[in-house]
């Protein structure tokens, strides 16, 4: 349960809310309305759940839990892409699903997340989401870890944040069983959302690792200037700021930080496939402008949603602004430097997991 009753209406949350910069939304008043009068406000749906306000709240109100509880069982105002990803999750929750691959006894499991359906429906953003998986597996192989690739159902992140806990629970039940049967003791994800979900919203009893925690041992010497966008799920939700940066700098990469980074990072603008609108577009533009200002040739992130949203802005038919830099997933960026397996020097040390 959220501790929303301890809110004393100071309004700090609203002032810091990124959505407030682009719309008349107010975390404060949504707490007030709900807490005092039991009213619903549409603000509970405009919230990006970026996690910025609870960080600043003097009363340590758990605004994210509040939003999730408020949304529970209600109909979202809008879901982008006509809700196709929600429908897919709903559908897959009703189907039988795969069983764990018994051909390998690797104790490490890698879960690709929803890259396939992103490739299927977001072909116009010109991003090869599948490459995130191939890159991640290649990197893990290079590090001497031969993971099982887990063909589970969707982790349920989006539906959980869209107030559809029943679907989430179905997905979770299947995935938990799958993981149990797979016999792994470590679950690696490259997706920030999966990472958060498996860490905080599942109770797996095994180690959940984000791939960026492993990549500083690659031993690559990459001469490149990049900037790094902290996905809210990896950063503020999980507090992981240093691992992805170390994964870059340890491999020779120079990071040029944006005006807002780490705890203060701006949101990509669109979380869990809700709210694709003028406001969220403004946030995307604001973030991409910051990235451009660093002068880096590449913007790196570790969330496929951030990747999709930035690249969507980049590939617009008649772009509002041109952004002359690549937006690339961390694993993809590093794996592209590996070259052919065996040909290049490889990191020898096996990291502890």
């Amino acid at each position: 349960m959220s501790n929303v009753q301890s809110c004393y209406q100071c309004g700090k949350c609203t002032s810091i809310c990124p959505m407030r910069r682009v719309s008349k939304t107010s975390p404060r008043s949504s707490i007030y309305n709900a807490n005092v009068y039991g009213l619903e406000t549409k603000d509970i749906w405009t919230c990006l759940t970026c996690g910025l306000c609870p960080q600043e709240c003097p009363q340590q109100v758990d605004f994210l839990s509040f939003i999730r509880e408020e949304r529970q069982g209600k109909q979202p105002l809008d879901i982008a892409h006509l809700g196709v990803f929600t429908e897919l999750a709903d559908l897959s929750s009703k189907l039988n699903g795969n069983i764990a691959d018994k051909t390998t006894d690797s104790k490490i499991g890698f879960f690709p997340g929803c890259v396939d359906s992103l490739d299927l429906f977001l072909h116009d953003v010109k991003t090869n989401f599948g490459e995130i998986t191939t890159s991640s597996v290649k990197l893990l192989d290079t590090l001497g870890m031969k993971p099982q690739v887990l063909t589970m159902k969707c982790c349920g992140h989006d539906v959980l944040w869209q107030g559809k806990k029943d679907i989430f629970d179905d997905l979770k039940a299947h995935n938990k069983k799958y993981i149990q049967e797979s016999g792994i003791d470590t679950l690696v994800t490259s997706c920030a959302e999966c990472y958060r979900t498996f860490s905080k919203d599942y109770d797996l009893g095994i180690k959940v690792v984000h791939i960026s925690e492993l990549l500083d041992k690659l031993g690559l010497k990459i001469n490149a200037d990049v900037t790094f966008h902290d996905p809210c799920r990896l950063g503020r939700h999980m507090g992981m700021y240093d691992a992805p940066r170390k994964a870059l700098t340890a491999n020779g990469v120079t990071i040029r930080e944006m005006e807002h980074s780490k705890e203060n990072a701006l949101c990509c603008g669109v979380s869990n496939f809700m709210n694709c609108n003028e406001q969220t577009k403004a946030l995307r533009i604001a973030r991409m402008d910051e990235a451009r200002a660093t002068g880096a040739k590449t913007l790196i992130t570790t969330c496929s949603k951030c990747l999709a949203h930035f690249n969507c802005l980049k590939t617009e038919k008649d772009a509002v602004k041109s952004y002359d830099f690549d937006v690339v997933d961390l694993s993809v960026f590093l794996a592209r430097q590996l070259g052919e397996p065996g040909k290049k020097e490889q990191g020898s040390a096996k990291p502890e997991v």
Binding site: R21, S23, L82, E278, K281, A282, K317, V320
Partner: protein, 1019 residues
């Protein structure tokens, strides 16, 4: 002058001609001798080279023809004679007795089911049986039964009479007689098509053996609607064949039996049939025995290559003289292996005879009775410059009636013939057509009051679905105020019943549960309009194709499903709002890009149809590539041809020519384009309603090939053509075909090069019979009636030597070395002159493709809207295509296409206004984020972006918003599905409407199970 045209023949040629004429404002009679229109195309399984399903692309055209208010269909009718003169013809027609009243028959098929008499089915090329009272195929138009009087038991023996007894609408009439009628028309288009060659006379091919079949029979065997539901089986024992042989040129390229022509299509259809058969059964071995493989059309060579590379189809250049049947009744073929000289024999389970195209009997009979000249082959005679004009002014011809050709060339000629007829009668345009009038729409009450009409369709639905049960169920659905059953919802008395019910119950939504909206929606929409309801308040629930026809064996579940379908339609219809078509004015003026023979012809046709047209030509003078030529293959001088056509262009007051000009900019849409032309260094605006792209092509310069450019004794065929205009001193001339074509770099066939080589070889021999001419070729592609030209060249002593692609000729100084693949020996030809036949390549098409956003193919030629049925259209409305800009072609073909493009343009220019679709997509600007996804996905160029400044609290940015031009939008909904922000609504198919329908269905779902890839929904 009469504002009406008779089109004779209801195959794809006649259908296209009739549709173009009707769309251009002429009353059109379409006369077909068979019970249904559709011609041979309706019998085909797939079409080359895209393997599109033939019926799937033809059937919408059939329906459109049936529905068109300006087309009067005279099915099962023969033309006896045509008399009179241009502008005023009398066409005598015999309407053969169907013994069924067309106005009463609903096509329910009850009579067919009960008829006891079975006879061979022509539609299935004799391989199945049909009844004596029959509808030839499922998509037949008109969909009425016909009694085969030669076999009907009642008509032949006076017994039976079952059909009359079971006919619900009382349509059977044994007393019906043939009826002679006279049509008074301004012009006639002959589209009498062809007759498939009957191989019975070629006894050594053993067509009497059940496993020797014609290519048309094979086509039926592969078709899902054929006698074996698409399973290729042997006729002798029903087993699946392992080895199949095709024998090409059966009834073609055979002067011995007076078939001097190549049938133009057999190489490709054999290739197509082989590919499809292999797709059905990858274990099959297929061998095609041929003379030349004539893959000359757009994408044909690529198709032929794929057949070999991807499907492993074997092509053997050798023709077996006979089909050998052994004592066990097994088949084998004997043939000479050209590589080794050995005589080989191979066993086959099935032999397919690739039969040629013979002129139709009606072509000859109508020509004879009406004094129309035929050519040497029995086709309607025409000339290169006037490829669709018969010897009688005002009578035009198109399709195979003019000479063997494939479907796209046929469709182009059909539009061309329409263009000529329309030009002749342009003064009478619109005089004989009528528009329907409807009462004013009544005011829509707020609450939905839905009427549901459930159709028995005779026994089609009623024998499977419990219709009364569905009616009772419908009455329980929310918003339904009236529900009833109907025997035939589409019959004319039912329309009265529906109208009465609308009035009596004050209905404001109508749902008919019957068959497919494809054929029947317009009928019921009109019924609604007649009762004062907006047509978009109507919904069809398809409980026949989607239910009773596919669940015949489970009546209980079928009834359940029918209820589900009805509940979905009802739920959806409750949300319907009236939609209106907008009328947009248009500019009745066209532009033609390019002033070659295609561009000039197109401009002349448009001008003769009564519309202003501007030719925009890049060069100083009109004429294009024809200027470079010195003789046509019929001996005419291109200069004379050009002079005549340029004279006509100069004289015509409707035509304006801008030389040394180019189109810089274009915006707008169908009927309302605004462009900018640059000429003489000045930019000037030009407004137009339609555009024809006729920018031609250019000759390939074969730099670096065969010493070209280094040795003055090596020239291109185009340069040689010019040399032939003067006197020629060379005595030994060697031509090399396929230079820079049919290779990995340029896969396509140049199409015109073989004919050009043959033509010029003949010219050399005629001027100097002692000259030696060698033509080194891979396949001689002298298709259609050009075969005769090829024969002439051989008769005159031109020597043709075949070489293989892997072993091309070499030019060394004055000698040409070639490995003769027929002889399997190296030959050296000491030559005075080497002539390289190079293909036409695309011109600077990239600029124009950007201007109009029209696509290019991989060879940079323009890509037409559909390779089969829309050869001169673009997907973008209002822009048309002709000549070599589309792909290389001969002059007469370019001229046909040019007239066709004009005809298509005139279907727009002749309108008083452009009527938009009613159910178009609309953008909610507040939700639009201007990402441009809609612009990318729209096939019709309807959405566009415009600038807006968005101010959201602290952040201000300039972005785009989308707007959809209703005049270009077809309501396909692609944009609505793709819009990430959900800002676009496809009206009449909105997410809400579809969602309500799905929810209605879901309410009844008790469970979903998946077993071995089969999803079963329990209701």
């Amino acid at each position: 002058m009469k504002g009406s045209v008779a089109v004779v023949g209801g195959g794809i040629a006649g259908i296209q001609a009739a549709l173009d004429l009707a769309d251009s404002g002429f009353k059109t009679y379409l006369i077909e001798s068979r019970p249904s229109i559709g011609g041979v195309m309706s019998q085909l399984d797939k079409t080359f080279p895209t393997n599109d399903c033939a019926m799937c692309i033809l059937s919408p055209k059939l329906v459109e023809t049936a529905r068109h208010p300006n087309i009067e269909l005279l099915g099962y009718s023969d033309v006896k004679s045509i008399t009179g003169k241009a502008g005023d013809f009398t066409v005598k027609v015999t309407k053969k007795a169907r013994y069924v009243d067309e106005t009463k028959c609903t096509g329910c098929g009850t009579c067919t089911e009960k008829c006891p008499s079975k006879v061979p089915d022509e539609y299935n090329a004799g391989m199945a049986k049909r009844k004596s009272i029959y509808i030839p195929f499922a998509q037949a138009i008109p969909r009425v039964a016909t009694i085969d009087s030669a076999h009907c038991l009642y008509l032949t023996k006076g017994k039976c009479g079952v059909c009359k007894k079971v006919c619900g609408p009382k349509a059977v009439d044994y007393e019906q007689k043939d009826k002679d009628i006279e049509l008074n028309v301004g012009s006639v288009v002959l589209a009498t098509g062809f007759k498939p060659f009957d191989p019975t006379s070629l006894k050594h091919y053993r067509f009497d053996h059940p496993d020797v079949i014609t290519s048309l029979q094979f086509e039926r065997l592969m078709s899902a609607s054929g006698p074996t539901q698409g399973h290729v089986t042997k006729q002798s024992d029903g087993k699946v064949p392992k080895n199949i042989a095709f024998i090409q040129c059966v009834g073609s390229r055979n002067p011995r039996i007076d078939r001097n022509h190549c049938s133009s299509v057999c190489c490709m259809y054999a290739t197509k049939e082989s590919i499809i058969a292999k797709e059905h059964d990858p274990e099959l071995n297929i061998t095609i025995f041929h003379i030349d493989i004539r893959a000359y059309g757009k994408n044909f060579e690529e198709f032929y290559n794929r057949a070999q590379r991807e499907y492993g189809i074997k092509y053997i250049n050798s023709r077996p003289p006979e089909v050998v049947v052994d004592a066990n009744n097994a088949l084998s073929l004997k043939y000479e292996d050209f590589n080794t000289g050995d005589l080989k024999s191979q066993n086959f389970d099935m032999v397919v005879l690739s039969i040629g195209l013979d002129p139709a009997d009606s072509t000859r009979s109508i020509a004879q009775s009406s004094g129309i000249a035929l050519d040497d082959f029995g086709n309607i005679a025409t000339s290169i410059e006037n490829p669709v004009e018969s010897s009688v002014a005002g009578i035009y011809v198109c399709g195979v009636a003019q000479g063997p050709k494939d479907i796209p060339d046929t469709v182009a000629q059909a539009s061309a013939a329409a263009s000529k007829a329309a030009a002749l009668l342009s003064g009478e345009r619109g005089t004989l057509i009528k528009e329907r009038e409807f009462p004013e729409e009544k005011k829509l009450s707020i609450e939905p009051r839905i009427g549901v009409f459930v159709c028995h369709c005779g026994i089609n639905i009623g024998s499977v679905v419990n219709v009364p049960d569905v009616v009772e169920y419908a009455k329980t659905l929310p918003g339904v105020t009236h529900a009833q059953e109907m025997l035939y919802a589409c019959s004319s008395d039912s329309q009265v019943t529906i109208k009465d019910a609308i009035t009596k119950n004050d209905l404001n939504r109508v749902v008919v549960a019957s068959c497919t909206p494809r054929t029947h929606e317009p009928l019921f929409q009109n019924t609604c309009k007649e009762a004062g309801l907006n047509p978009y308040l109507f919904e069809l629930a398809n409980i026949r194709e989607h239910c009773s026809w596919v669940h015949m064996k489970d009546k209980e579940k079928a009834t359940q499903k029918a209820k589900g379908i009805v509940s979905m339609a009802v739920a959806k219809s409750a949300l319907f709002q009236p939609l209106y078509k907008q009328k947009v004015s248009l500019i009745n003026r066209a532009i033609v890009l390019g002033g070659g023979v295609a561009g000039m012809t197109s401009a002349l046709d448009i001008a003769n149809n009564g519309y202003s047209v501007t030719i925009i030509e890049r060069e100083k003078e009109l004429g294009g590539m024809l200027r470079e030529m010195t003789e046509l293959y019929d001996g005419k001088k291109p200069a004379d041809v050009l002079k005549e056509i340029m004279g006509k262009v100069a004289e015509n007051k409707n035509i304006k020519v801008i030389n040394e000009a180019k189109l810089l900019k274009v915006e707008g849409y169908l009927g309302n384009f605004k462009g900018v032309v640059l000429a003489n260094g000045k930019e000037m605006p030009i407004d137009f309603g339609a555009a024809v792209v006729a920018t031609g092509a250019r000759n390939l310069e074969p730099s670096g090939l065969f010493n070209y450019g280094k040795d003055p004794g090596v020239v291109t065929q185009a340069q040689f053509e010019k040399m032939l205009g003067k006197s020629l001193s060379a005595n030994v001339i060697t031509m090399i075909q396929c230079v820079g074509a049919r290779n990995s770099e340029r896969e396509y066939c140049g199409r015109t090069c073989c004919v050009d080589a043959v033509k010029n070889a003949i010219r050399i021999k005629k001027a100097n019979s002692s000259a030696s001419v060698y033509v080194l070729y891979r396949d001689m592609r002298a298709y259609g009636v050009m075969e005769k030209l090829y024969g002439n060249a051989r008769d005159l002593g031109v020597i043709f030597i075949k070489y293989e692609a892997e072993n091309p000729p070499k030019v060394e100084g004055k000698s040409v070395l070639v490995h003769d693949s027929m002889l399997n020996e190296d030959i050296e030809i000491a030559s005075d002159l080497v002539v390289l036949s190079t293909p036409l390549i695309a011109g600077e098409n990239e600029e124009i493709n950007q201007l109009f956003k029209i696509p290019l193919d991989k060879n940079k030629f323009f890509l037409e809207a559909h390779p089969k049925l829309r050869p001169v259209d673009f997907a973008t409305d209002g822009v048309f295509l002709c000549g070599s800009a589309q792909a290389p072609k001969l002059i007469d073909e370019a001229i046909s296409q040019a007239s066709a493009a004009a005809s298509r343009a005139c279907t727009i220019l002749s309108r008083k206004f452009i009527e938009t679709e009613g159910a178009v997509s609309v953008v909610n600007e507040a939700k639009c984020i201007g990402c441009g996804t809609c612009v990318t996905v729209c096939p019709y160029n309807a959405p566009s972006l415009y600038d807006v400044t968005v101010k959201v609290e602290e952040v201000t940015y300039t972005t785009k918003k989308s707007k959809i031009n209703a005049a270009s939008c077809k309501g396909c909904g692609s944009c609505a599905a793709a819009c990430p922000a959900g800002a676009i609504t496809a009206q009449h198919f909105s997410s809400k409407e579809i969602g309500e329908a799905m929810d209605a269905f879901q309410k009844g779902v008790k469970g979903i199970s998946i077993d071995k890839g089969v999803v079963e929904v329990m209701v």
